[in-house]
Assembly symmetry: D2
Homo-oligomer: 407 residues x 4
């Protein structure tokens, strides 16, 4: 590997997502044969001390205190964006225009308008061999990648039902502190964009169908929270007596949906699946229950991230002795898993990020568009915006604009 | 028991539900000490041969071929209605006016208008000591009765989320035959009233909150089916070449909801829970997945009828070593279970019907209104109607009329 | 059914098992078409008041206070023995000699010697058309009957591993009272015969192999218990200050085993399966975990009575997308279940007893030996005795005598 | 961290275990604050090309083709032994005598005699501040570490039952090839030492009790296998027509055990727990089911590595609404997990190795004996030998020598 062409990465941001991305860049070449050799060249953050400490801890060779400096540097090939959503558009567009590949955390942006500008920039760049990807890392969870394979192979037949839930509980406590994730100006939305976006992307990707319309309801259970506080993971305790500020995002999002059937057909009369979505950070006891169930004419699938190494599969051909099979997605034939441990030796959360890096590096080396593209992520953004529009209009049915067409 | 006052039952209908009710009447006094002694006095059905065979098989002492004859008989104290929904109103009102107690299968009726007339009749009769009950038998599943107890005792705190699914798969096959359950004139609706009604009743009963508004989507996946066919259970095979007739009911119903907070507060700004409901008979691989999850500020509950002797309970007081407890609802202290077998020796589907009879007989003997009353069932009917109205109006938010007030 | 030939039953004993058997006799003809019509003709018990109350409660037509009177009566065709094990031999042999069919609760007897005498009597009676059966009711749990079908059809290939546990916890409390089940003179043994016998019978029956040898360890954790006490189910509270008496049976039994391969081969070098067995009433939190796992060359099975309507099946032909299927054993094609409710509507503990009665009545009407025969139960008794012998001799390997050969 | 004192590691062997250890050394300092900075200084292997490729792939700075050269080098502080068991004693003793710390894969050795020599060497070295640890990595699985905490805090009361199974299936196929793991001269034993050793160590460590005696049975199902073949993970396909060689180890090991009660008491009459153990690589469908259940007087625990981020806990104080809680062992308060991701974001197999390195580095820096010590591993070895002795002597009860006393 020492002789491979390097892929020199500059990462912006170094919190939770930064740690996950750093681990992925470090680890991917140790378990996969990559066509390019990732180097952790530089990390950027505003606070010099904190970014220096992060560089040492996470293994980056140098630091910058302004992301623009990363883009200026000649020794950087790829910009990895791990900052809040309100900064994505500016950084990504600048990077792409400077000829740097981009990996951008999800959600792609805080509005459809931003996402459209980013997608236009991505399209231009791609024409010059500069690629971009949005970090919907759950696509690289082996069990979900196997789900995608089943659907593509026809094992489910025509899909009739999509049932997606993303349930966490770290905001249940009314005294959990205000963080940027609860500030609409930084995060764009609450549970909807933070975790619901993962469900939307996964559902569209696995079914091969886009969501054509939605009817939605948003709720904010706790409208004010302590401004400061000690963070423990995503939750923490702000103190009941601390001064409070307003929560400006949704605490929970629920919506019904129709899918477009996958080949351009749309609207109420389509033969697409129907779906139910729920995203919340108030489902007490559910820690990271990113659940997806699909029912088709020939088979069904069920997944819950709280048992992330398993995929449940029902095959009508097995009847009358059928039942949901708990497939341990650790066989050599399964997506990604053959590169790791023997069967039954499960993987963890961070492996999705490592696989994401693997696929990104391979696409860049091959001169192919990696997925999910910014256009794919824009489609998710359109759903998010339709959900908010419907919720603001008495849950009225709201069409989702079709796929990106270069507008 | 031989010296107990008898409670002489006349049952109308003798198919699937008739068999379940007969078993309940026969079995209840064997395991519970009842204040009245049920007698299986007469069963009514239109076909003389079939009703005679059913009487012998199910253990009824005599037969009638017209339900009106049952009501005329002096030796009948209670009419048990096990026929399709379109017949409920006429039979129930006639019985109540004749001074017979009534047990009526769910859904109470095929329209709110019918249900209101029935409720008015029930109220009048109750004033004369003649009682009525609607057969939402899942209330008597021990695990759901324990769930109700937990909520009433405050173990969940304020409820924020209701997540209800009723998933079956017996219509997945496009050649499953047309039956009365697929004919709107007989059944009133499809999955919505057949199974969704159970979810609605259970959710309202356990939370102690009524649904205040809904936004809904209905879908019919298979619009024509073979007219005749051999039934196997609820499903069966109609034959691909048989002549087809139209399915006039929904195959699937999904809706979002707001609850009224339980003490009169209502409307969008209430502090009530939000809910997601789904009912379908096309969830391949799910046989009778009547699932209910509740998330509150202090605890959570989860139930799935496919593991009906368990209730999953999460108690925030257990943190940080908390987790959903799989409570086997078979302890002597749990609802109903002490009358049966030692702990861990599970019960089955039919026990809900037996417990229903126990509670009904005790209420009648005590001169108290049994639950669910017709008014409770009318509330469910109002939700069903609001769901249909919303689905027909672009999923627009639709208020559910408040509780029965004698209108 | 009114014109069917009756099968007039006389039952001895009316406690826990008596209630289960009574329910079975009452219920079987309501769901199955039986060639003979069971009548609950008489029940016998020593205490006149208690037996009279039981008769009323359980639905028996008459009473006796001496089981010998049941045998003398001309209007009794079958003796159903629901008493402690020390009484089985005398009652069963007398009944068979008097020409009465016999259903005898398990374990068949308290010693191999008794069981051999009973089997000899059964063989003589069978030659005269008088039949006997031992009540290993778990054979009639649909999921275990389906397991047997899978093995018989070759779905597992050659069986290599048997893993059987029967875990309960009702004696965990040191103050649970002494009952007849803890008195060796009445019960023969403790967890070994009470619940371990079920595991042994199920394993031998499903695999079609007999246990050829064992190495065992028995343990009594609590050696003295309160003599009197209030019973709650099988457990109860005897009071810490009550006078204590000795527990004379095992609290837990664990043993390893070799099976004979099913066709007469035996001994250490056989190609039979190896097995691990455990029976205890001190597995805190396990209420009725009668678990059985089989691993073969082609497939595997797993069962746990705490989820009694499911059978887990692994089919190597499904690889690499294989996984244990959770089969809901409620399909019309599954053993017994088509007579009850629609798919997914689970059965309970007592249904095993009802199915036992169905099979017994059909065998008697057909003039065929019902199973498990006394000879089958004797084989279980031989294993129990070998286990006790090995435990008393430093766990030394102890051969189990082969099948009954009329000795 | 750049200024930390380095801990320079030399690793022997670079197959499956070498990859896991390399990942651990690389990753530990990225998520934990370590008092010494691990450096991947050198890796040794016999084949120059393969070891060079491994060094590049796994991130080692230099290579050696003889492990003795590693020990000779001044720039190595710790020897990490990842070779088959027959080489452990020689390498470990030489390393310790040369003043190198040692991390040695399990099982410690292929015989008690070897293990005793190693333990003696470890004791001598420890007196000079040179430490050693045996790689029973499952001790660092968070769920099992939490189990240990529960027992130590008394949450289970007195432990009565230990139920340990380690079930894999990668040898089910009769044509899986002969590897060193099936050659007794290299591996010492089969399933017993390979995976059963993990169960024994975990059971002794968590209960705080040693196994005092055993009665065992070993079985080899497939006595000859193809000599060559393509490996896929641990299994693979050797080809039905390839020449065959003898399997000289056990395919399955089952034994009963008594524990010593934890404070020196021993023998049959102790108050220690009783246990059942099973290790096999023929449990078709079980991929890495390292299961452990404990039942005590106050609580119970259950674990299955196939759902490795969960621990099931039953607390008798919760009765009558108790049930096994599925604790997701991902809370900040749980062992190790706070250093990784937010709650609910599970870890994988390799994290145990990373935690092992963390604990080892901390112990070395603090001048304390890391655990498991070689003496702890010797105790496991004594159990393995007693199991083999009992199996060879008709399963006779065989005492396990007590803990290491410097003999």
């Amino acid at each position: 590997m020492t002789e491979s062409t390097p892929l020199r990465v500059g990462m912006v941001g170094h919190a939770f997502m930064g740690a996950a991305h750093s681990h992925a860049w470090r680890t991917a070449p140790r378990f996969f044969d990559l066509p390019l050799a990732p180097r952790l060249t530089a990390v950027a953050g505003r606070d010099p001390e904190r970014v220096a400490a992060a560089a040492t801890k996470l293994g980056w060779e140098s630091i910058e205190t302004d992301w623009r400096r990363l883009i200026d540097r000649d020794d950087i090939d790829l910009i990895d964006i791990c900052t809040p959503g309100n900064t994505h558009a500016e950084i990504a567009i600048a990077a792409l225009e400077a000829g740097k590949h981009v990996l951008c955390e999800k959600p792609l942006a805080n509005s459809v308008a931003e996402a459209e500008r980013m997608t236009a920039a991505a399209d231009s760049a791609a024409a010059r061999g500069v690629y971009s990807m949005c970090g919907f890392s759950y696509r690289r969870t082996p069990a979900l990648a196997l789900a995608k394979r089943f659907v593509d192979e026809g094992a489910l037949g025509q899909i009739r039902h999509v049932r997606a839930q993303y349930l966490q509980d770290w905001l249940t406590d009314e005294n959990a502190p205000l963080t940027w994730r609860l500030d609409k100006s930084k995060s764009g939305s609450g549970s909807l964009g933070d975790i619901g976006a993962h469900s939307i992307d996964a559902a569209q990707w696995i079914t091969g169908q886009n969501i054509a319309g939605v009817s939605a309801l948003l709720e904010t259970f706790v409208r004010e929270r302590p401004i400061a506080g000690e963070l423990v993971g995503l939750g923490g305790h702000g103190g009941a007596d601390a001064p409070r500020g307003p929560v400006t995002v949704d605490d929970a999002a629920i919506f019904t949906a129709r899918f477009d059937g996958g080949t351009g057909s749309g609207g109420t009369e389509s033969s697409g699946a129907i779906g139910v979505f729920e995203a919340t950070r108030f489902a007490l006891g559910r820690k990271n229950a990113m659940r997806l169930e699909l029912n088709g004419t020939k088979g069904s699938l069920a997944f819950d991230f709280e048992d992330m190494n398993s995929l449940w599969f029902y095959d009508a051909d097995d009847e009358p002795n059928a039942g949901f099979r708990r497939i341990q997605v650790t066989e050599p034939e399964h997506p990604y898993t053959g590169h790791w441990w023997p069967v039954g030796h499960g993987l963890g959360y961070e492996h999705g990020f490592t696989h994401q890096v693997v696929d990104l590096v391979e696409a860049i080396a091959a001169g192919k568009q990696p997925t999910p593209s910014f256009a794919d992520a824009l489609q998710v953004q359109c759903v998010l915006e339709a959900v908010e529009a419907s919720a603001a209009d008495e849950s009225r049915w709201t069409k989702v604009p079709g796929g990106w067409d270069g507008r």
